[in-house]
Amino acid sequence: MLPIKLLKWIAFILSLLPFLILILGINNFINLGPNIVEAVLHRTGNTSLNLLMIVLLLPLMAKHTLFRNFIVLSRMLGLFSFFYAALHLCVYLFIDRNMSILSIQDDFISRPYILAGMIAFLSITPLALTSFRRAQIRLRKLWKKIHQLVYLGTASGIIHYIWQMKIDLSLPMLYLVGFLIILELKKGFRVT
């Protein structure tokens, strides 16, 4: 088993990597293609959802002695997921929509996937805000309840992903299946 400190450093660097790639891409050190805003939106969205899926997997992985340590990564990976979701939202609002209230309003009314994405972001925001230890101690049982929102956040994130798809749903559907399997496994563990 990896020592916890080393594990955390590895996770930190791996989680930061997509951000570094974006910074290099925006400054033309890496070629992200001719539609750079779209590339940044896709990358931040994907990374956020991937990290959220990993966070959900961690408690299940901890059942195996080999990965027992990994549960300590929950907070960091969860916060990174929020970080990428916040980037995603900011790029959408300030770069892609250029802060045009009319255009954003039209998106909310005419495009359900925007609404799903917003629900996803709002669901994980309280988790990020209460992620520090003192909040955990002070909120006690309520903390656990609040953090159940991670399931709503992941589910709406996946719906956001499915609904924005143009034609081929196979990849987002894979996320949905993975999510349902995680839910099912979790149930199984609770019974035993």
Binding site: I26, G33, P34, N35, I36, V37, E38, V40, I95, D96, N98, S103, D106, D107, S110, R111, P112, Y113, Q164, K166, I167, D168
Partner: protein
């Protein structure tokens, strides 16, 4: 690669000049024609990009307006080679475009299966700089080389009762492996009204940027209808049918609520996926904002009359 907005405004300028091609164009056209006559234009292989001699890069006259060749040839929607924008550039080498035949059928006095070379031989090549507006709310400025669709279709003497023309892309799962996954009802098909097809802006391209078309851009011959969303501009055409029925079109079949038969660029028709009011001009920096989309992609003066009396909110 930063372009100022005032530079981009020149787009309006050259839109005019490409439909009234007398001044600057004649020069180029003459050069291209002579190149063609001398047999300098590639006749052996359309599959591999070859220079078209006599071509002067447009970008030297109007710097900073055209999209880079690399952008035009590496960011493509051509699902026959995969769904990612970079897939066509990566995987379209499997497409063999020589020999290439085009079947012409339906309400025509000259139906038949023709060698492509034979039917493009009488055409006068010219360059047209058009804005390609994708339904995904991005656009690029492309210097196409080809000839007007109308004069090409006249060769086949369409009958008077032909009111539509339909086009088909090649169907070959070995050459177009993306067709093995049934994301669309293959082969890809598109259609225009005869009035649209005969409009002088409707274009068939066999080249771009002074070179023959790369496979990922629809080699050896593709449609370009600049006032319609990009998916109307069908690639790698093998079949043309004249008909009196409104033909099936692939994206309309896949999702009729989002993609209509006409699919004219229209910032006022809301789309459930992308706001069509603005577009992102490709190849710009991260902080360059979108620009407003123009009705008929800016070609309204030339084409709006085609739709007189038609409710474009319903006939989108």
């Amino acid at each position: 690669m930063s372009k100022t907005w005032s530079q981009k405004l020149k787009i309006k300028q050259f839109k005019d000049f490409e439909v009234t091609p007398e001044n600057l164009f004649n020069n180029r056209r003459a050069l291209l024609k002579s190149a063609f006559a001398l047999g300098l234009l590639p006749s052996r292989s359309y599959g591999h990009v070859t220079d078209i001699e006599g071509y002067r890069p447009w970008d030297q006259e109007y710097p900073g307006i055209l999209n880079a060749y690399e952008d035009i040839t590496n960011y493509n929607n051509f699902y026959e080679f995969g769904l990612d924008k970079s897939d066509p550039a990566r995987y379209s080498h499997t497409l063999e475009t020589h020999p290439w035949q085009v079947e012409v059928s339906g309400l025509t006095n000259k139906p038949g299966v023709y060698d492509l070379e034979e039917i493009i031989q009488p055409m006068q090549l010219e360059e047209r700089v058009y804005k390609l507006r994708c339904v995904e709310a991005w656009s690029m400025i492309v210097p196409w080389i080809g000839f007007s669709l109308g004069s090409f279709l006249q060769q086949f003497e369409p009958q008077a009762n032909a009111t539509f023309v339909q086009f088909f892309t090649l169907y070959d799962t070995d050459m177009m492996p993306g067709q093995r996954s049934r994301v669309l009802d293959w082969p890809y098909r598109e259609g225009l009204t005869m009035a649209e097809a005969m409009h002088p802006l409707s274009f068939l391209a066999t080249g771009l940027y002074g070179k023959t078309l790369p496979n990922q851009n629809g080699a050896p011959i593709r449609l370009v209808v600049p006032w319609k969303y990009g998916f109307k501009s069908i690639k790698s055409i093998v079949k043309i049918v004249f008909t009196d029925q409104k033909p099936l079109t692939s994206w309309n079949q896949a999702n009729a609520r989002e993609y209509g038969f006409y699919s004219n660029v229209n910032p006022n028709v809301s789309h459930p996926r992308w706001s069509q009011a603005y577009e992102r001009v490709l190849g710009q920096g991260f902080f360059t904002p979108r620009v407003p989309t123009e009705m008929f992609n800016g070609y309204g003066e030339q084409v709006a009359h085609l739709y007189d009396g038609l409710d474009l909110q319903i006939n989108y």
